[in-house]
Amino acid sequence: MNHLVLAVEAWMKALESYTMSLSEDSIWLPFFGILNQVPQEVWLAVSMFLSASMILGMIIAPIAGFSTFVERRVAGRIQARIGCNRVGPEGLLQFLVDGVKLMSKEDHIPQGADRFLFKLAPYFLILGAFMSFACLPFGKYIVVSNINVGILYLLAVSSLVVIGILLAGWSSNNKWSLLGAMRSAAQIVSYEVPLGMSLMIPVMLVGSLSLAHLNRYQAEGFSSWLIFAAGPFTFIAFFVYFISALAEVNRTPFDLPEAESELVSGYNTEYSGIRWGLFFVAEYANMFLIGGIATTAFLGGWQKSVANIPFLVFSLFFIFFALLKIVFYGPAFVQSLGRKKGVLFALAHTKVRSFSKPLVLVLLFLSVLSSVGLHVLSDFWLVSFFVFISKSYFFVFIIMWIRWTLPRYRVDQMMDLCWKRFTPLMFVCVMGTALWMLWSQR
Amino acid sequence: MTAQAMLSQLTEQFDESIVLESSHEELHPWVRVHPEKIQEFLSFVKNHADFSFDFLRSLAGVDYQQYIEINYILFSYAHGHELIVKTQVNIEQPFISSVEKIWPAANWYEREVFDLLGVSFKGHSDMRRILLPDDWEGHPLRKNYREKKEYRGVSTQREYLTGMPELPTLSPEDAS
């Protein structure tokens, strides 16, 4: 909070000095006069709103949209097919085009549906997903609001998603979506327990709920990461956290609420157009949230450590690959524009030639080199931001990889797994970390 | 157990009134049984040790215009021999007793024969049409069946689609 206050004071001083320098008869004088009377609290609110919307608009929404494209390419590559590569260089603009398509589609409301609740439901999901990014530390100075009850706030806000799904299922007057909503209510509520307990362990070790303190605790390189802090117990806690977070977000193997093969498409069967799109933006935002919390709570957030390098290599390689494709895309696009069939035709029919093996190796070497460079530089706030993003996006990739491998649990098996397997295991882990802390203090 | 031995044992087991005629020279040994005695004959044939026809392969109804003939194509996994049991049902009131109690597989076979040929089976648990919609008139596999031009306002003739002159499709009249 303090850096926001400093910024606001500096801004107010600059405002005053500017009004002083204005000449007496300039027409702007009354306007700036009023501006000076505005109290400091209002400016604080405006700056907080600006930083929040900047973080959400510039970082989360593009990442959520972009991961729809990444999911289709990952799925394609796993299933020995190509995936979408037509719109823009290698299909990078696909999610923008999807957004436009969804907006142009008619969002039909079924006849017997409860209209108000039907329209309200997706906003609960969006709310739940985006509000929880407020307390996530993205980089050295980049955090929306560094509240000291971080973990508690996260758990509270992420249960808004359940209300959204229940509303969607109930209000669309369709038996299948009602079944999907009931399943999701059971699933998310029951997986709150292992999720909460697994987040309790880092809180116990660090002693405070705030994510910033969690981060500072893991500052001295990767040996201080919380995943290794209490030996096997935190290690198990990390995996239980990851799996129950999967259940929180309805991703395979727990995608029972929108199980295509049984419930047609679960709670979002009756939705269409951008209203349906909102469900999916929320889902992908939630996926990135899981990655974010996992890195902050267990894997050292944006702190500088040698172990960040593999994550950096992973993301830098794909960034360089995409950049090279864009570089090759330019001339090819111009050349296909020459065929005088309009921009859209050119956009769809520009073929960038695929890269040969040695070129890919060169890219890999380049990304290893630059990631070591970044590691050295990572005191700089922008680099720490990039470290955090690449680390959490690695988990998003793992989630996508799991989706296209594992089948789906049955409802009772999923509940059985939660209550009979994870919850007792978490009791053991919490007890274990407590004893571990006692023993290490002596 | 050769076909001849089987048939001879069957004929002396049942008197003339039940087993009307049988022959083993043709491709498949077959036996014609009186319609009222069909349930008794088939349960005997299924449960008896040296026949044990435990597999009802198929139940084929055939419309011979004067009567409707129902063929029970039987097979025995134990002995590996087969037999076709035929009965003739009057075409005006086609009634016969159901064999669902003997082979549960017959449940759907009989519903299909009822649907496509109009033979209703007494004692069947759920006697209704299986393939065609319930309010469909007529039984398609009858030789005198003529398809109506449209069903509930939807035309069943293909040519209205293409606006083509009436192509010489093989209508049932000149087929039989």
Binding site: I78, Q79, E262, L263, L406, Y409 | H28, F55, N71, R128
Partner: protein
């Protein structure tokens, strides 16, 4: 749509797993009466794909009916052709040349692998794993290309003729098939790893509605569904037709490896084992195929003598039998087609009591019921 009224309990919900539903393969419909998730009664409604093929058989000549037999089971059309040809040849008592019999066997086994790949591919997709389906289809495409080079079509082959086959092997066909088989087996093991060792599958399918041997025989189940219930019966081995007696292969029988005998996992496992058996048969056929002409002397318009004949073939979904009645005219008097899916479908109603919806979907997928065979 049905005339009888089903008495409703107060808290019962009637869900319509309608003709358009992602997990009923093709247009099948189940009116399920459920109490929340638990299915109290699932009433199958069929007939959405009824093309009255048996009526067409009475209006078309014997040769002309062959392409319609493809449409009886378009997932494995070759065995359907083969069955019809066998039945009419029995009437005409013509002797099919040895090379034609081997060609028919090669095409049959290729088709069996392709059909089992569809069944084994859609099974995990109904349980949520999408990738195995795509791997299975990738292999099936290779088989489609092989058969396309053999007879010209990918799905509705119309390859078998009464008395022989229409085309001989194109040159290089045998090498291409054995090359396909060599690369197919490691991919098949990889496909199987994704499923058989996966404990989520084993939990979901182990012990799910086991069908005992007696019940299977009573309901007329045939093929993999019967063998999964522990009954060792395969027409190719016990009533050999074509040249199956010159080829040795063994019959996989369900042994309750992940639960009881005859449960859904057994039905899945039997199909995987059968694919490996078919690969063995194909290898032997490619070696043993003799030289010779491929079509026996058969008149242009066939007029078989009066009589009836029933010939059965071991199709991918069990015994497919053609009961042909001829009255010495150029059209058959009556053709009754017996299919495996029709009887497999009739057992669902009694087996579906007390299942959950997800299990009902698994049961339908395990029985490998396809709509064209059920409705004909």
């Amino acid at each position: 749509m049905s005339s009888i009224q089903i008495q409703h309990f107060d808290d019962e919900m009637e869900i319509n797993m309608g003709p358009q539903h992602p997990s009923t393969h093709g247009v099948l419909r189940f009116r399920t009466l459920t109490d929340g998730e638990l299915v109290r009664k699932a009433i199958p409604e069929i007939g959405y794909l009824h093309r009255s093929i048996e009526k067409i058989a009475e209006m078309v000549e014997y040769h002309g009916f062959m392409p319609y037999t493809d449409r009886v089971d378009y997932v494995a059309a070759m065995t359907a052709n083969h069955g019809y040809a066998l039945s009419v040849e029995k009437l005409l008592s013509t002797e099919v040349p040895k090379r034609a019999q081997y060609l028919r066997m090669i095409a049959d086994e290729l088709c069996r692998i392709a059909s089992h790949l569809i069944s084994v591919g859609t099974f995990p997709m109904d349980l949520g794993a999408v990738t195995p389906f795509v791997y299975a289809l990738r292999e099936r495409e290779k088989i489609n290309d092989l058969i396309e080079s053999l007879c010209g079509a990918r799905l509705t082959y119309n390859y078998v003729r009464i008395g022989g086959v229409s085309f001989d092997m194109p040159d290089g066909f045998a090498q291409r098939v054995s090359a396909f088989l060599d690369q197919f087996e490691p991919l098949m093991n990889e496909f199987d790893d994704l499923i058989s060792s996966n404990n989520i599958f084993i939990d979901r399918l182990g012990g799910l509605c086991p069908i005992s041997k007696e019940l299977a025989i009573a309901y007329g189940l045939v093929g993999p569904n019967l063998r999964a219930s522990g009954m060792e019966w395969d027409l190719r081995k016990h009533l050999p037709y074509a040249a199956y007696d010159e080829v040795d292969f063994d019959i996989p029988v369900g042994d309750g490896r992940c639960g009881q005998i005859g449960d859904c996992f057994d039905r899945y496992w039997v199909r995987i084992a059968e694919i490996r058996e078919s690969v063995k048969i194909l290898r032997q056929c490619l070696v043993q195929i003799p030289e010779g002409e491929i079509q026996a002397k058969v008149p242009k318009t066939i007029k078989p003598p009066m009589g009836q004949s029933y010939a059965a073939v071991e199709a991918a979904r069990g015994e497919m039998g053609y009961f042909v009645i001829s009255d010495a005219s150029k059209n058959a008097y009556r053709v009754k087609i017996r299919t495996g899916s029709f009887s497999a479908m009739s057992i669902i109603e009694s087996q579906s009591k007390g299942l959950m919806i997800a299990d009902l979907v698994a049961l339908i997928a395990s029985l490998d019921v396809v709509a064209p065979e059920v409705d004909r």
